[in-house]
Amino acid sequence: MSLSGKSEIIGYERADGRIGIRNVVVIAYLVECAHHVARRISMYFPDDPVHVIGFSGCYPNSYADKMMNALCTHPNVGAVLLVSLGCESFNRNRLLANVEASGRPVKLIGIQGTGGTGRSIEEGKAFVQSALSEIAHVPRAVLPFEDMIIGVVSGGSDATSGLTANPAAGRAFDKIVEMGATAIFENTGEMIGLEQHMAGRAVTADLGKVLIETVNKAARYYSIMGHGSFAPGNAEGGLTTLEEKSMGAYCKSGSAPIVGLIKPADRPGRKGLYLMDIVPDGEPRFGFPNPNDIWEMNELIASGAHCVLFTTGRGSVAGSAISPVIKICANPETYRRMEGDMDINAGKILYDEATTDQVADEIVEKIIRVAHGEMTCSESLGHQEFVLGYKSFEPLGPACLPAG
């Protein structure tokens, strides 16, 4: 488990060749009307990795469909129970077929056809029981660290976020990329003013242009949403310019070259650092692109993230279904108050107890330990947050994923 040498993880081998670091049974409701049954089934398994995800909408949406298919075949997922009411629009048969084709134990329960709430819960419970014993025998295989995909988000930021946790996460991202793995950052709404700098990091000029267009799209979208607070605010906290404010968030991406742009549930094709564009294409239709931090994490996970780094100053407690969340606390006072929720104390940089580089090493070591099975704080506390709503995206253009 050394940082300089080759790090290998013994993970769960999936039929598509990907390796998971968790072996979760997912219970997926396919409309809000089936959520209760899904939740009640999961409540029989409080000590097992049984996670509830789902899509609440009854109207079909190709983005949500893609997300659900990607999540149900995520390498951290061992088995899937689909819970359908029966009359919703979600394409349950295609999702069932895709999970079957991935070699995972899967069952579809239609509540109407099964005979209501009670019978559906009983059937679901029986399936989860058998699935848990079946996936205990999933073959184990070596996951080279190079095959890991790591995402980063921030939430509940304060004046310390841009000083400690975000620069440390960025330094950790540089190390992850140097070690040959894949890293994904997102939230173009926080990159306004830095698009030229980001374009300069792109591996091709065409990708650079796409990155600029992506940030411009975000600026326009958020302004129309009435979220135009991009003027230099918080001067009291020492921030002088818009670039500086954006940089406090953008520095989570580190300094590696950007090898591609993906959208939620797209899989990175080569190793290296990716930007995820989470802002829908076209005219704003369904409201705020990501109204909370959970949705962002779920999108990174849909693109294959094995785990997610989450920096916070004020103290978010959120975790996620499917992939572990590593909480990096920027503010030493927050850490003191909420230590049980925080995996990494980046705020100690302000007390001269560690350098940014040392905290970055701690983060990378933590990722390796978590990949070996160590539970993160949010996992131990039972956090399994999940949210998914409507969006619309155009397919990726040819410049987004340059050949490597």
Binding site: A159, T160, G162, L163, P167, I192, G193, L194, H197, N216, A219, R220, S223, I224, G228, F230, A231, P232, A235, E236, G237, G238, L239, T240, T241, L242, E243, E244, M247, G248, C251, S255, I349, L350, Y351, D352, T356
Partner: protein
């Protein structure tokens, strides 16, 4: 305990990590500095002389330009640093406002 933090090796500003009180004497790089107003967490201090028009570097990238000569050790904020970006953003904002 050090009161200033260098975020990136290329930075020409340092960040205050512990409040510097008004009138408090602070040693910085062999010099003694006293500020006549308090400078709080997150504020910037020039790590070197920054001539007027020169880029101010934080996080290793330019965050704007000096609007006057900034002596080493001086507080860097709205009075001596301006965004290089704001005009572009303002144009974009007007464009959206017309729609």
């Amino acid at each position: 305990m050090e009161k200033l933090l260098r975020i990136h090796r290329d930075d020409n500003v340092l960040v205050v990590k512990r409040l510097i009180g008004a009138g408090e004497m602070m040693r910085f790089d062999g010099e003694e500095l006293v500020y006549d107003y308090p400078i709080g967490l997150g504020h910037k201090i020039a790590a070197e002389f920054i001539p007027k028009g020169e880029k101010v570097i934080k996080f290793g990238i330019p965050i704007g330009s000096a609007t006057e000569d900034i002596p080493k050790g001086a507080h860097v904020h709205l009075h001596n640093l301006k965004s290089d970006y704001l005009p572009t953003f303002t144009l974009d904002h007007e464009f959206i406002g017309k729609k």
